[in-house]
Point group: C2
């Protein structure tokens, strides 16, 4: 049997015997893989999933479970939020960065309501409750939340704000228990099983197998070190996740994320990307990253966030992932949160306060001038920021950044500052270029025959921006497309 420790494609005529056969072979049993498998099975394909670990779930099952959906989903409607595909599209074009795949965003927005209904029909539960407080996730089992800064500046003036972070219901959410992502994956994995989708666990894929015309006809994997050749009669779907844990790739493509991977799993080593690159696949937006920011949004909105020069740079009440990106990429990972005693107390004692990220302030002082000196910031750097902020806050305004009036209040009395330098981490968003049928594109622009991909091994909706739910969103949406297209192939 051929050597399995390279990602170079293997010619089918070198395969002496096939260990497994299926119409559609799906690599990776996370969100993209399960959706591909379901749709392929429903299209009467015999489906085999190859999963590297010992169980289904991938990064999805341990995630918060956000799926970014809109355009007027039944959940949005039930909760009284008006939205249209066009409004959603306007927001995403503004929020997801220059160079987005406009065709994909338009397609995704137009298919979003149908996709919501499909998930519900697969058994994914969404409770009709809205969580409107600052936070990363709903603290209970609420099904809808703002997850991209839709209701914050500047987007609240660009498109009509609508929450689109859809979260599967978790009846008994406690720290350390199952997550919203588990509640997304479980019914989908059950659906796949009911449809007769077969799964082989502990299979590490390594090479695509191609015929003499470079058409993909299978995958070479290893199981407990032994090569396993898997024939795919109709197509192979790559759903192997990001490259957040491949140090060499992160160094070459997204070096600001070096040493700070998060919300990914160690299996996210870019293997699917590299296997397809070996066949001449095109890439896109390899530098793009989701960036979490380890601050409590309840504290953030009540304070002012300043960079290494003591200057404010982003409305503190926007999506915290947007704060993470701005901090890591535009402020060289330098950030401090400044707040007064009363506001900090309010953040910690509010009924809707969450326990995440709580810690004591790094510096406290009686005045902004003293705080500035304590923090080692240049003379006047923080003082002028605080006095400008306070001047307008007295009138409930924030002309500099447009923080919403409800969170704007002058800082007074003793002040505290939290050192937020380096408190970012995230996962990669770049990957293979695919078309609307999730066909993997060659650098020529033509599809690579027999090869499909979805999820974080592809470049999906995001060019450089991010919204929570974009990954489970495009992973599930284009996972389905991959399954449909592969089954038809």
């Amino acid at each position: 049997m051929a050597e399995a420790s390279t990602v170079r494609p293997l010619r089918a005529d070198k395969v002496t015997s096939w260990d497994h056969r299926a119409d559609v072979v799906v690599a990776g049993y996370g969100i993209a893989g399960v959706c591909a498998a379901i749709e392929a099975a429903r299209a009467d394909a015999d489906v085999l999933i190859l999963e590297r670990t010992g169980g289904w779930g991938g990064a999805a099952a341990i995630s918060g479970g956000f799926i970014y959906l809109g355009g007027g989903t039944p959940l949005q409607q039930a909760l009284g939020f008006a939205d249209t595909p066009e409004n959603m599209e306007t927001f995403l074009l503004a929020a997801l960065g220059p160079g987005v795949d406009k065709t994909k965003i338009a397609d995704y927005c137009r298919g979003s309501v149908e996709h919501y209904n499909w998930l519900v029909a697969c058994g994914v539960p969404f409770r009709a409750a809205f969580w409107g407080e600052p936070g990363w996730e709903p603290p209970h089992d609420e099904g809808l939340m703002y997850s991209g800064g839709e209701n914050a500046a500047p987007f609240n003036t660009i498109a009509t704000p609508a929450p689109r972070g859809h979260v599967p219901q978790l009846a008994d959410k406690r720290i350390g228990q199952k997550s919203g992502g588990y509640m997304l994956m479980k019914p989908l994995a059950d659906t796949a099983a009911e449809l007769g989708v077969r799964v082989k666990y502990d299979m590490r894929i390594g090479r695509l197998i191609v015929d003499e015309d470079d058409r993909v006809v299978g995958v070479l994997a290893r199981r407990y070190g032994k090569p396993v050749a898997v024939r795919a009669e109709r197509g192979v779907v790559l759903a192997t996740g990001s490259f957040a844990y491949h140090k060499g790739m992160v160094e070459k493509y997204a070096p600001r994320l070096l040493g700070r991977p998060a919300a990914a799993i160690e299996e996210h080593d870019g293997i699917g990307i590299r296997m397809a690159q070996s066949l001449g696949a095109e890439l896109a937006h390899m530098d793009a990253t989701e960036v979490a920011f380890f601050g409590d949004p309840q504290v953030l909105v009540r304070g002012i966030l300043v960079n290494g020069r003591g200057q404010r740079y982003i409305p503190e009440d926007t999506y915290p992932g947007r704060i993470g990106q701005a901090t890591l990429i535009q402020q060289d990972n330098q950030a401090y949160l400044v707040i007064d005693e009363a506001a900090n107390e309010a953040a910690l004692t509010t009924e809707t306060s969450t326990p995440f990220f709580r810690r004591p302030p790094t510096w406290v002082a009686e005045t902004a001038a003293e705080l500035e000196a304590e923090m080692g910031l240049p003379d006047q750097a923080l003082q002028t920021t605080v006095s400008s902020y306070n001047l307008h806050a007295a009138a409930g305004e924030d002309p500099l950044l447009g923080k919403k009036p409800e969170w704007v209040r002058p800082l007074s009395g003793p002040l505290a500052a939290f050192d937020m330098r380096g408190l970012t981490a995230g996962f990669t968003l770049g990957g293979l270029c695919t078309d609307l049928d999730s066909r993997v594109l060659h650098v020529t622009g033509a599809p690579i025959a027999g090869l499909f991909a979805a999820g974080r091994c592809t470049s999906g909706l995001c060019a450089s921006g991010y919204v929570s739910g974009a990954s489970l969103g495009d992973g599930s949406f284009y996972g389905r497309r991959a399954g449909i297209a592969a089954a038809k192939n």
Copy 2:
């Protein structure tokens, strides 16, 4: 003859007849190509250059001619500047961004003096004169200049400042005349000709030709529409330049540069990158870009540069290309230059003033408050910036950003502001991954047999930062390596 309109590799057994043969075939007659050709010819290889246009030169010949060299070159020594390879390395590691190829930077710094001597031996003239004024290029025929912010904050505290921008002498420099880049290319092209290097012009390369083991054995090109097969007995060197003019690639990899290519030529369409990608070549730092900023450095240093929030963000006396990158990438292309009448007058009338980028101010006002209102900035945004700056400037200090005392003076009297929004443009820095012998690396990390590359179709010294002279620098340095390695192959 095989179809030439795809970048997919062509099997050699499909080639019915070879139109040309050489030991080493070099694609592209710019700086990397000419250096590869010279070294290959000196290693007794029969060398053929395929150039797409009707003449030699590439982007190099129309550039300013900066070559970034140091570590104690004879020119540095003659002008009294101490430098060592280690000092140069310390600076470049700090200035060229996270994720740099450290091995390549160490190698380049250690080989820099030898490379300078090699260029001089090829006939490239450098005049022992230093230009120490703010500017993009020396206005006369001076041979040495700071070209990366070595003597500005924060680098002047990280490494010992030494100018490393080496510029070939141009005896009669006038606007519209030949450039420093021409004076670099001309003696090199003459050297190549003397060595018997052959050149075919009007040859558009399109596909690599590979044997049954995927070893590169030639190139398929088109000449006046007709396919031309060129056999390379020892190796092919790709030296085809950046992808600044391939809209699809810029959209996918460096979308902030969309619509603003500069200091590149239209032939920079990424063809070499795409041809090698088709063979499974690895890429790196595809989002990195050089960014020019269309402001007169003489005016810049005397004013304060603020972003869309009226905040200073970079020392105004640093390398202007660094200002360009910070503005485009970290400040969303929002910048204003604020200066007082006296300083603006001084900038325009100084003996060393250059005529570049002169234009009238966009706004003028008697006070910072009035100017702020005229500019449409939020109340206090600019006023606090000016008053903080003035407070420290009165003592000749800039604690916020460390602008050098010689340029720090309080702004007083009538003020002017220049609208610098969107005034950036540049070229791409990302490309093929190569090793120290300029062998093109496959995604497996192994070299692709028979394939070499140098110049802006490769990822060279820069990960995300830039210094003027890095492109002609790594292009010429690793162009030589490519020629040596290909000839030996």
